[in-house]
Assembly symmetry: C2
Homo-oligomer: 560 residues x 2
């Protein structure tokens, strides 16, 4: 008949690694059937209960308490297992003794002044303070700890950005700097792919696959899972893009993350276009409007991101950023796109594509909504087939009057650089749309310095005669596109890339120098760095007041 | 010195085509510089003002009024142009006289009893009533009209579904039935691609491109832009999928639309898997988690959807639905998936893929949220690296204890058919995860009839020895996958497709017979059908009380 015994140790902090080892050591003792050694957080209590390791009386334990439960065949076996805990702890301590370990970050800086990175994996409530210390000491931070608040993250990253330092994290599991893995990282060969990823296993899946495909990694920089949220603004991702842009080892960039906040996505994709290197983008759950848009290549999963990156490495990538460089230099103020669509689906596709390239797009059907549907502003796409335009009026695929009027208006607007039209041929539609538009296009192109593009949809059997429609438009001076993607790419080349984003640059040398680091927290990370040949110092960190929350709050009050 | 004159005709209805022709006729009169003939809706008033065609006094016109404005060089030219309106109207009427035109739908049914389709393009406020008449007359409806309410659409489609009839629309611009285009449609050759699309230009772009690529169309069915919203539930799309599934001409199906409501998306993708034909899906702005998942192929724009469809036509498509047919027939109740992940990004990718295949997935990080993170239900994926599990506990990539416990628990659950694990090797991670899991996997597989799959991420240089890890898992009886997509496809084959969706089938003969139709509204559609060789009757429709809203409401009150 099995029996359970437990012990609660009030308010003391233990390293999770020590707890795991204690639990395993208990399981090896005679008669022990199961054992749990955990901090008594609500989640852990539930999990203990599900393993039948939570006697009723043990439920009173608090989150800062250590809970030890042993189930054994006989009661005396359980009792003596619990009694063995202190011995086991002492044993564990003696095996980890050896090398000198400073007790503070400052002391570690003195021992290893060349360390440019501090790895922090202490419990979340202590992590932000340590990260701030590291930044003040002019070190980059790899912040593995989770349970760090959004506010703390924002303020740490703002501080880091000002000083040209990176905060990778919080909740950042993985990075590879100059071939050395920080945290969890696969061993991969060096090569031309530089990566930026939010959390961890995404980066691991892609870097592993790139290695399996025979290529290699320059650097893989982690940002933490919340970096692309509005509150943070993608600080670390933008810094990382800027770094990889300047890094000559990196020939192809891969960005992996969950879908960013829309505003942050715009900044990020602008910055990605600005790198003038091929960038593979895989935002999990984000809808790419095309496989390729300028130098941006969209993948729909990790495996594909890796394959794309390796393919791009093989290609001559000098020309890939051409779109961004051939921007027009007309010297005038004409810089906005106006789209006057008759087809709603074509307008939607154009909206998605142009948003990626130019960020904010106004419209009467999606993106940024116009207050008044006829008052275009900045980049605007209008679907003139929407209900608001078709009450008591024919559809713009039959009657060109409204579009022609608006076309003339927009052409006269000194801010408009490109007017995009669609023209949908076929049954039911106007019998000669190009014939109506061509003279007007020719006329306004003589008057104003801007461009006109037409997406022409139809077949050689359509009653309007596709080729004749096309020729009329070309003769009038319009560009003619066969689909929306073609049009978007052409507009991207003509109007050029977005303006440069401003981040305080991080010193490239910090990535290039042989890796030296300071580790605070999980010993596994220290051991792994040492095995990889990096210089590393482990800080013998203990929480203030031994992790006793009550004592800590008294100490804090005495200081206030 | 130009001058403007206007006239307001109170509360009378005019066909938009007539208005367009009147406006054009006015422009041809001597001295006329510009003219507008529109129903005085708010949007039209704004547009008239922007064309400098809205004298202050004309602003008082109401939406049901006809507004005529003429700007001419001389005042008398403007005045005589306005005076010519009635003559122009009479002229227009006389040219359209000729063939006998019934005044009601019922009369049209008598003239052309074989007509299976009624095209409706009258103003929105009259459209729902006519559509209902058509359904009562046992005819399919092609509803071009917009400005039809969501409630009307829902009730029309419910009525249609019961009777095995289609309501294509409202706001449906395009369909192709047996080679004949309804509404706006391109002339394309006949062939093996069947399409379902929301609105119009999406279908036109894809069908045109398929034709350009040398292939052809069986049928293209429009659903209206709101069919995939929750309120409507995708009725028409589901009916159409069922039709194209049974249609032997259709060898590949293409579905084009804006992103559906999530619930509707699940039903739709289930139905698409059930067709056992290759289905190309292009939901604009929807994030496909893979290029291919079973018989589903995801495209990111219209052009790509067309290319994919044509490629698939060329392939032997007997095998493409194999996944759905090889479903297990174990005869037990084990039917749910449980995922126990250490990697958050891998878990996210798995969630997206499995949602497409199985609909609702519970998790502690996305999809349907679990109330308590340890209480799995139905299909559940857990990310054990989430904050809630890692307070006072090592990350599951270092410490397998929690995952092993949960694995045993789930294996013992008689509802669980597949347990999916990830195993991420590399620096920092557990030195032999497979070594810890393999004996437990072997043990539970001996006890219970279910499957275990492991997504193994790592490289040949990782300290854990990739091949050895893999071999231990295989020896234990687990399936080993190199990435998430591979795992999802395998689970899809094992657990089989979703259950059949229930729609009242539409008679295939209605699509196969030579097209005969009744047209109410835009004459352009009548003319186009006639030119295409279809049998068609135009209804000489006039709104009740000549479109005078006041009179109509008095008539209505007298009836109540």
């Amino acid at each position: 008949m099995a029996t359970s015994t437990f012990e609660i140790r009030l308010g003391s902090y233990f390293d999770s690694v020590i707890l795991m080892h204690l639990q395993r050591a208990l399981l090896d003792l005679p008669g022990v059937l199961d054992a749990g050694v955990v901090m008594a957080t609500p989640a852990n209590l539930i999990l203990m209960a599900e393993s039948d390791l939570l006697p009723t009386e043990a439920q009173k334990a608090n989150p800062e308490d250590l809970l030890i439960v042993v189930r054994a065949e006989e009661e005396d076996q359980a009792t003596s297992a619990i009694a063995a805990i202190d011995d086991l702890m002492a044993k564990r301590r003696s095996t980890s003794a050896g090398k000198f370990r400073p007790r503070s970050l400052e002391a570690a800086f003195d021992i290893l002044p060349e360390a440019r990175f501090v790895l922090i994996s202490v419990p979340g409530r202590y992590a932000a303070g340590l990260a701030e210390q590291a930044l003040r000491g002019n070190r980059h931070v790899f912040l593995y700890s989770d349970n760090v608040s959004m506010e703390e993250e924002a303020s740490l990253k703002a501080m880091a950005q000002e000083r040209g330092l990176l905060v990778m994290g919080p909740d950042c599991g993985t990075a590879i700097v100059q071939g050395i893995g920080l945290g969890f990282a696969n061993r991969v060969r060096s090569g031309g792919v530089g990566l930026i990823g939010a959390a961890g296993t995404g980066l691991q899946a892609v870097t592993s696959r790139i290695h399996q495909l025979g290529a290699g990694i320059s650097h893989a920089l982690g940002t933490g899972g919340r970096d692309l949220k509005k509150e943070i603004g993608g600080v670390t991702a933008l810094q990382s893009l800027d770094l990889l842009k300047r890094d000559s080892e990196t020939r192809v960039i891969v960005m992996v993350s969950k879908p960013p906040d829309p505003e942050v996505a715009t900044k990020l994709l602008s910055a990605a276009r600005n790198t003038r290197k091929p960038v593979v983008v895989n935002f999990i759950g984000y809808s790419p409007p095309a496989r390729k848009l300028g130098n941006l290549h969209f993948a729909s999963n990790f495996n594909e991101a890796a394959s794309l990156a390796v393919d791009l490495l093989g290609e001559n990538n000098q020309s890939t950023a051409a779109g961004a460089t051939s921007a027009r230099q007309t010297g005038n103020d004409r810089r906005y796109i106006r789209g006057l669509f008759s087809g709603g689906s074509l307008a939607s596709e154009a909206l998605l594509l142009l948003q990626v390239m130019f960020g904010k797009i106004y419209s009467n059907f999606g993106g940024e909504r116009l207050g008044e549907p006829t008052k275009a502003r900045e980049h605007t796409l209008l679907d003139l087939g929407e209900d608001q335009f078709t009450v008591g009026r024919l559809h713009p695929m039959i009657d060109n009057d409204l579009r022609l009027r608006m076309f003339r208006q927009e052409a006269a607007n000194p801010e408009v650089a490109f007017i995009l039209l669609d023209m949908v041929l076929g049954e039911g539609a106007h019998i000669d749309p190009a014939g109506e538009f061509a003279p007007v296009i020719a006329e306004v192109l003589r008057q104003h310095a801007f461009d006109v593009g037409v997406i022409l949809i139809g077949t050689d059997e359509d009653p309007q005669d596709y080729d004749h429609q096309r020729q009329q438009l070309l003769d009038a001076g319009a560009r003619v596109f066969g689909n929306v993607l073609e049009a978007a790419n052409a507009i991207g080349s003509l109007l050029g890339g977005p303006s440069e984003s401003i981040v305080t640059p991080v010193d490239l040398e910090d990535l290039a120098a042989p890796l030296a680091a300071i580790n605070v927290g999980l010993e596994a990370f220290y051991e792994s760095l040492e095995q990889q040949g990096a210089k590393v110092v482990q800080v013998n960190w203990r929480p203030p007041a031994g992790g006793n929350e009550k004592l800590m709050s008294i100490l804090q009050k005495m200081r206030d």
